[in-house]
Symmetry: C3
Subunit: 296 residues, 3 copies
């Protein structure tokens, strides 16, 4: 045993010792936790179920796409119900209770897949109608981060509404990581939702968004203050955005009592903490700029 190997032995012992402090980060009950990698794979498979002809399965040469999709749906149902069972067990359910409840939640989720697809189809249409750079529907399905974030949110929201713990947020945070768009699964979002570019968007847990709303990069739909911390849990903290509203890049709309009336246009970088009457266009009045000419 050379010196490095001896040092490794000592280091290993000290780290194992450090695990014995029983803090939150020292918890070892791995069999009561969901598996993050499995969840990411399930998101990708669910995307194939939502857009059946666009993302392929590498494992099969497909003669009959429907057979393949049937196999895929069964696979996702089994694996998703296992993950749900794990988090239910983590929350204290018995093995038996957890599995039964997980299966019924999973069936309830899949019953809503056609409804999710009906909504996502409107989001796709909204992206095409709203973006002059879009050359076709397939380009949007393959490339647009906004549509991906909305699709994952729509699935996560159904699980959130069914009361599934933890997994909905893991799903939307995966989409956040991929797209820079952070939509809490608790938010409520109507049909024909369009997000352009999207990086930096934050949509908080108790936000309510109507139909046909457009949101650009860097927009925050947030809370006025979160200094109350955990005491604010469950309270309405985020705004209401009514139908046909457009919110341009970098605007912030804050507060649980703030209602942006239907048809409003909120300009870039506008900062709003009060309600706006329907049909209003709000822009920054004048950003006083200073121009200094370089001598040359």
């Amino acid at each position: 045993m050379n010196q490095f190997e001896k040092q490794i032995e000592g280091v290993v012992d000290r780290i194992l010792e450090d695990y014995r402090q029983d803090r939150e980060i020292d918890q070892m009950d791995i069999f009561r936790h969901p598996d993050r990698d499995v969840m990411v794979e399930l998101i990708q498979k669910l995307r194939r179920i939502i857009f059946p002809g666009y993302f392929r399965d590498k494992n099969y040469h497909i003669y009959n796409a429907k057979h393949n999709l049937a196999v895929l749906i069964e696979d996702v149902m089994f694996n998703l119900s296992n993950q749900i069972a794990l988090v239910l067990k983590g929350n204290g359910a018995s093995q038996m209770e957890a599995m039964e409840k997980a299966q019924s939640l999973c069936v309830a989720f899949f019953e809503q897949i056609p409804q999710i697809r009906a909504y996502v189809d409107t989001d796709l249409q909204a992206a095409y109608d709203g973006d002059p750079a879009a050359t076709g529907m397939d380009e949007i399905i393959f490339s647009y981060p906004g549509l991906f974030a909305i699709t994952v949110y729509r699935m996560a929201h159904v699980l959130y509404e069914l009361g599934v713990p933890m997994l909905p947020r893991m799903m939307t945070e995966h989409a956040h990581s991929v797209t820079g768009i952070d939509i809490h699964p608790g938010a409520t979002v109507g049909r024909y939702f369009f997000i352009d570019h999207g990086t930096g968007i934050v949509i908080g847990e108790t936000t309510v968004i109507g139909e046909n709303v457009k949101v650009y990069q860097g927009v925050t739909l947030g809370a006025l203050s979160t200094r109350g911390g955990q005491s604010l849990r469950g309270k309405r903290r985020h705004p209401t955005i009514e139908d046909n509203v457009t919110i341009y890049a970098g605007a912030s709309i804050l507060g649980g009592d703030t209602v942006i009336g239907q048809g409003c246009v909120i300009g870039s970088n506008v900062f709003i903490t009060e309600s706006i009457a329907p049909g209003t266009t709000v822009t920054i009045k004048n950003q006083e700029l200073q121009y200094r000419q370089r001598k040359s």
Copy 2:
């Protein structure tokens, strides 16, 4: 068959039924679509071609790097031409036409690799010169999201100029996902382009950027309004940035008639919709702040 299995059967049937509505999201013609995962792998291989000594191939023990690179280039040319053929078929070309045209587009693209590398070499130099935190060229090549986004953009732009549909945008959106930097492949960007930090940058389809330009995080080079939607397709909507311009974090420069003259410095958070004369430094005049002292 237990109850869960019976329920799965019912769910599968209802989802397969839902696929029969012939909406865009119900399209099943998977063999006319490019493969997103293959495209991501091609981007990684193309990066190895651009920076031959920096990113390794795990599959070979390399005795002769050049043999390995020759094999790599052939591999990418075959696979990229297959993906191009798929999108051409998706746009209506016959199998034969698609393959022939794809191969000639692919050769035309690779003919420009030395030109792309010449540009990327200037971008690398610009990053080193512009960032006091940079400790060396290799650190920039391995770590800097800006250089990665620019490299992918430069390759995608060549494919875009050659008229290849869909794939250029898939490439830049992959880079957007990895870096938070959204450069449309249609934009035109001169040599020595430096992006620092980069998250939240948006550079629109018809933007024209000169040489030696620096852009920081959160900058938008965008359209004034996209309410025209698809009717604006192909029109000039994004600004012109001339040589030696620096644009600090969070600034927005909008509109197809907006020209930022050479040597301008655009300050943080400045919002510009009109042209600026060469050599001008533009900053926000005064952001009136309110200071409230907490009693203690």
Copy 3:
């Protein structure tokens, strides 16, 4: 040999020829470079060492988690010391020197793992206390990008302080890619650090942050100007944030002489280049908005 194959041959020759220009991007000495993919895998394994019960190893069925962790720690120590040796060789050390120094740096790093875990445990607590949407510690560990970015930063900072070249920045830029949060490994950050949402945050190399600080999405802790480029290397360019400061979304605090006193609250979008006395709340005085009602 068909026409495409002949063209490929020509292209390969021209690209190989292009590699002979001896620019930075033409460097081929692959055995003196770290391996980016190995580093990403090491980050994931290090996360399992920091949070031993939360992220599993797919390769083992674990009967005894501690045996498994011991194996994991050994594995990471061997592989990390190899990567350190590669960058030391790249900086000119001999094979023998590089390996010896790398092993001693690696041991020094691992000696600080308990300290890193003690800090990360406070960050976890701060996230739970600060976010009304958090339903539990496990949700934060699995989902919150802020905690991930801080964890990677805390590990990278130890390596940076030990003088390991290049790898610390590769680590934080990986976290930047995953989360949109860009913390330079040179920054100094106290305990109980909370980042909410996080996309677009930039924390520069010479920033000093106290204890119990909260930072929201889009905040820049940056340099006033980087026009000096490489001549500024090593100089203090970024601000000091004292204990118990909250910095809301989109605020920018710039400059190496700027000190934000303890207990300050910096409002959304505030732009600061001068020091602020302790206990001050700074907000934008009035953003003059323009309201235009649409006729209907």
